[in-house]
């Protein structure tokens, strides 16, 4: 039923997205597309040392994919990279759990609203789109400064 898929939290994030829009400065950017439906997302990650100071994004797509990006922004901004990746792994596990995993609100915050999406295999990719882009963007942001440091030595 739509009640389990379209939780009020998801609709809220969709209609009133948090932190939407691409911002500067940023250390890494990634653009991901869902080839089956054409949904797209661009994510930028700004780092200060190992702390994520901003996750900015822009994209177009269904309520699930866009709300997921908004939740991601809220959850991961201000965390360390290690922390953020731990949350990311928990979210991916939830999405791949076929609706059998009880989500942990302490870790996932508003992300628990996506538990119902896991029961809809066709929509899991929508929910994960921004998270996969986030991983790539963060990896690029981390690769950038490391290269500079190596050059400096």
């Amino acid at each position: 039923m739509s009640d389990s898929l379209y939780q009020e939290i998801i609709l809220d994030h969709y209609k009133h997205p948090h932190g939407r829009g691409l911002r500067e400065p940023f250390g890494g950017e990634a653009h991901h597309v869902n080839p089956t439906c054409g949904d797209e997302i661009t994510i930028r990650v700004a780092l200060d040392g190992s702390t994520i100071t901003d996750v900015s994004y822009d994209g177009q797509g269904c309520s699930i994919s866009q709300a997921s990006a908004s939740v991601l922004h809220e959850l991961l901004t201000g965390r360390t990279v290690d922390d953020a990746f731990a949350v990311e792994r928990t979210f991916v596990e939830l999405m791949q759990g076929k609706g059998q995993i009880e989500p942990d609100e302490d870790v996932l915050g508003d992300g628990i609203a996506f538990a119902g999406v896991a029961k809809y295999p066709a929509r899991v990719k929508c929910a994960l789109l921004s998270w996969m882009a986030f991983k790539d963007a963060t990896a690029r942001a981390m690769a950038g400064p490391v290269t500079v440091e190596e050059d400096a030595r």
């Binding site: 739509s2 609709l11 054409g38 309520s63 699930i64 929508c126």
Partner: protein, 421 residues
Amino acid sequence: MSAPHSPLDVDRVRKDFPILERRLAGDHPLVYLDSANTSQKPTAVLDTLAEHYSRHNANVARAVHQLGEESTAAYEGARDKLAVLIKAPSRDEIIFTKNASEALNLVAHTLASGMADDPRFRLGPGDEIVVTEMEHHSNIVPWQLAAKRTGAAFRWFGLTDDGRLDLSTIGELINERTKIVSLVHQSNSLGTVNDVATVVARAREVGALVLLDGSQSVPHQPIDVTELGVDLLAFTGHKMVGPTGIGVLWGRRDVLDALPPFLGGGEMIETVEMTGSTFAPIPHKFEAGTPPIAQAIGLGAAVDYLTGIGLDRIHAHEQALTAYALEKLNAVDGVRIIGPNSTESRGGTVSFVVDGIHPHDVGQLLDERGVAVRVGHHCARPVCVRYGIPATTRASFYLYTTFDEIDALAAGLDQVKRFFG
């Protein structure tokens, strides 16, 4: 608005399709509006498949035993039925493939192979390939690959704002360098039925081949390949109440004779020596290996079923459905039709967008009411790009579609709007 008249007894037709009795989650009856994606199958086809496997199963054209003869007769009998369906001058001109994509790839690949004796059937630098912006990816990508392999130029017709081919530049687009024009008969996303005669006339002037993708037209209207005037026609079985795994390439005999072989293997040869091989005449030249036997026979049963009802009547029914659907959808505030907004030169496939609501969300909520539509770019992404939209929702009709089902779609859209409003 009361439901308009249809020449079909749809209630009776629906009894032939067991799946239409399915109840879905929430005990909703199935409202199947995704026949352009794949059609449902009547009992006659299902029984034919079961009977083939349970009573006649054997490989074709290789066995001297009784089952082999029965299987071969049924397989070749299906070829006869398809030849009659599209009024092919010869049964040998019907090539069985696994789907329409393979049929289109067969032509692109053999033209690009450079192996034809006649230079008219060899693509190379300086040659031009022409497609249209409304093609399914299966009629774009094979030609892009062929162009890359041969150095030929890849060109296309653009679209008008109302979902038609822009033929204003046809004189320049199809020119002396054009080797082949490959276009869709009826668009799978817009529903547009193209003006094939104008394209064929120009192609004739410059000696270019014309390949028509009939995947969305052969199931829905009477087809006469001679009247169409094209050189080649590709279509698929599963969209015309037949099984998956079977498609057809029809070509004029002289064209198919001139094309070099596609896949090599058993059955497509005349004689094989370690120093070289010679090839079977058509149709077997293009049917390497064990073909989809049961699927071809099942498609033959599908042809019998469709012609038993009458493709002219099916077409008239779908025209009535389309008129009704356009009226209903236009009456929903915030719904915009992507494609021709009248029944003139269009089929029963209607794409639309709902203002402010992504098609994925539209499709998901419709599904919860048992209404099955397709959402996305429908493997025709350039169409979405052309109209500046990420995706569409698409409802597509067939002989078993009812006016009530279109009402269910419209009512579903009202609810979708309330949900996201």
